[in-house]
Amino acid sequence: MPPSSDTGQNAANIRLEGVSHRFGQTDVISDVSLDIADGEFVALLGPSGCGKSTLLRILAGLQEQTIGRVLIGERCVDGLPPRTRGVGIVFQNYALFPHMTALANVAYGLEAVGISRAEALVRARDALAGVQMTPFGERKPRALSGGQQQRVALARTLAIGPRILLLDEPLAALDKNLRLDMQLEIRRLQRALRITTVMVTHDQEEAMGMADRIAVLNAGCVEQFDTPEAIYDRPETLFVANFVGAANMLEAELQGGPEGFRLHLADGTLDLAKPAPASRPGRVQASIRPEHWSVAPADGEGPTATVSIVTPLGPSALVDLVLSDGRPCRFSFPRAQGVHLTPGDQIRLGLQPGAAIRLFV
């Protein structure tokens, strides 16, 4: 059963209005505005130091923003301590109380809000059951594995029935196999409880795999806030294009004409239906993902390249190329296509049909 049956009804939307945070002379967060819907799962994705953790702490009420407003369920929570905001947070290192058993850890928050000890223990057992940890209730945290600690931390946070669940790099300390399991587990719980969730991560696969929407942060600013597909397929900024997924960043010349747009790249040209987000003719940075390329017929107009390394990666193969002007470039294709390339091969490149390459000024 779910740790607390009434959680879903209490879930709340979050609104950040022009939130900035200064630490000394540095802007850690600059003018961030986000609207997160009721029951939505949002990932704050960015490199370390981008301010994503600070943003989470501001949401939790562990830190007060310098400027701006935070609203939870349409109520301004600025100045309210964590416990009255209805948020629950799972820290990266889980922050379990080392001197208490798993059960006591989970019961702690319930007792803190005035529930009797007996009732708190009953509810704590339910919460542990909700994360499949019933057999481990009497163990101290040090006797639990990383994944088990993670589950206890989740149960402890969810037991108090928060309207908002905050996750700070929840999977960073786990090894890879466990990480996939926990991804599914967290997602399952979040769906079941329909609890508004904000997760901080630097791992794009994690963000892609779990979140309904991703806010990509860079140097304290939100670069893009959209669905995982949109973030990947239609990065709005050079940073997002670079940070999310692999992309070849190639300098090129955009020419526009009545018959359409053409991109001059090395010794070839590529036809573009609708250049975006930049569309003014001139020098541009073209972001072309490896899977956007295809091998074109030798008489095509695309740039030529020399194969230098071929790396088979299970279902696909990754090819390191050198363009005619000496710039490196990557190309990947499904091996099922039956294309055979060996180092030294000269190929002509073209674009996959519908490949959404992105241009930036």
Binding site: G61, L62, P82, R83, G88, I89, A95, Y108, A112, R156
Partner: protein, 277 residues
């Protein structure tokens, strides 16, 4: 342990054997003599010690002093250590204040207490001027005065391990407690205090052993009407020239302290287990 590191400890081991081990054995050996002239082997000294209510009283008073001093230091030291960790901008000032007693000589500190607690000292003068008392309260030369003076001198030894213990608590654990709905008081009682137990035990160990063996303070603040073990040893050895009995008193004190230290250490290992697992 490698050969090299084993050898590196050799000088310290030799030092301990030569200047602690052998003298202790010597004292133990002396204690096994029945007369001040060191004739007759036996345990008459120990029988004499324990069969006499006066002597048992001296031992109990000494241990009680250790307990009182420790309790006062925990009550005074914990808030200071907590403040030190919680308020980084006050750290330099607090550390200076904490270490100040260590930078003054024992005799000066002790005489300051004489001035404060005397019949016409600071406290009695203030109370008299406020009209609260007619005749001076007897403060100096009381067991309470010794405990208070001891507590002041030993306070850094309580605060420093507590600072380490409190500072070692993961800030996220405190935050987790707050986010889970616990107020400051509950967090202090249920999270901070239990996690400080190892530091508390270290401090208790240092303060207790310091308090029960502090000859100068016990003597100067306690005066001649209070008897504590260290001065009793000195008196028996140097003034009464009864080395065997003095050695007995010393061994009794040593054994009692060792027993208490072992208990505290055992508790410390258990608490360190759950804290640092």
């Amino acid at each position: 342990m490698s050969r090299t590191t084993t050898w590196l400890t050799a000088p310290l081991c030799l030092y301990f054997v030569g200047f602690v081990g052998i003298p202790l054995l010597l004292i133990f050996f002396i204690s096994l003599h029945d007369t001040p002239a060191m004739t007759g082997i036996g345990i008459k000294g120990y029988i004499r010690f324990f069969s006499d209510a006066y002597n048992r009283g001296v031992l109990l008073d000494t241990l009680l002093l250790g307990v009182e001093t420790t309790v006062i230091d925990i009550l005074l030291g914990f808030p200071v250590a907590y403040l030190y960790v919680a308020a980084p901008r006050w750290r330099r000032f607090l550390m200076f204040m904490v270490l100040l007693p260590l930078l003054t000589s024992t005799v000066v500190r002790t005489f300051a207490w004489v001035v404060i607690l005397g019949n016409h000292g600071l406290i009695n003068t203030l109370l008299a001027q406020a009209g609260l008392i007619g005749t001076p309260l007897r403060l100096l030369y009381t067991p309470g005065a010794v405990a208070v003076a001891m507590a002041q001198i030993e306070l850094p030894l309580m605060i420093l391990p507590l600072i380490t213990a409190i500072g070692g608590i993961d800030a996220h654990i405190i935050e987790a407690s707050h986010v889970l709905g616990a107020g400051r008081w509950r967090t202090l009682r249920r999270i901070v205090l239990p996690l400080c137990v190892p530091g508390l035990l270290t401090g208790t160990l240092l303060v207790f052993t310091g308090a029960v063996s502090a000859l100068v303070t016990q003597t100067l603040v306690g005066g001649g009407q209070l008897a504590f073990m260290p001065f009793y040893i000195y008196q028996q050895a140097i003034q009464a020239q009864d080395y065997p009995f003095a050695a007995c008193v010393a061994i009794v004190l040593l054994m009692t302290i060792l027993l208490i230290v072992s208990i505290l250490n055992a508790l410390g290992r258990r608490s360190a287990g759950y804290v640092h697992g």
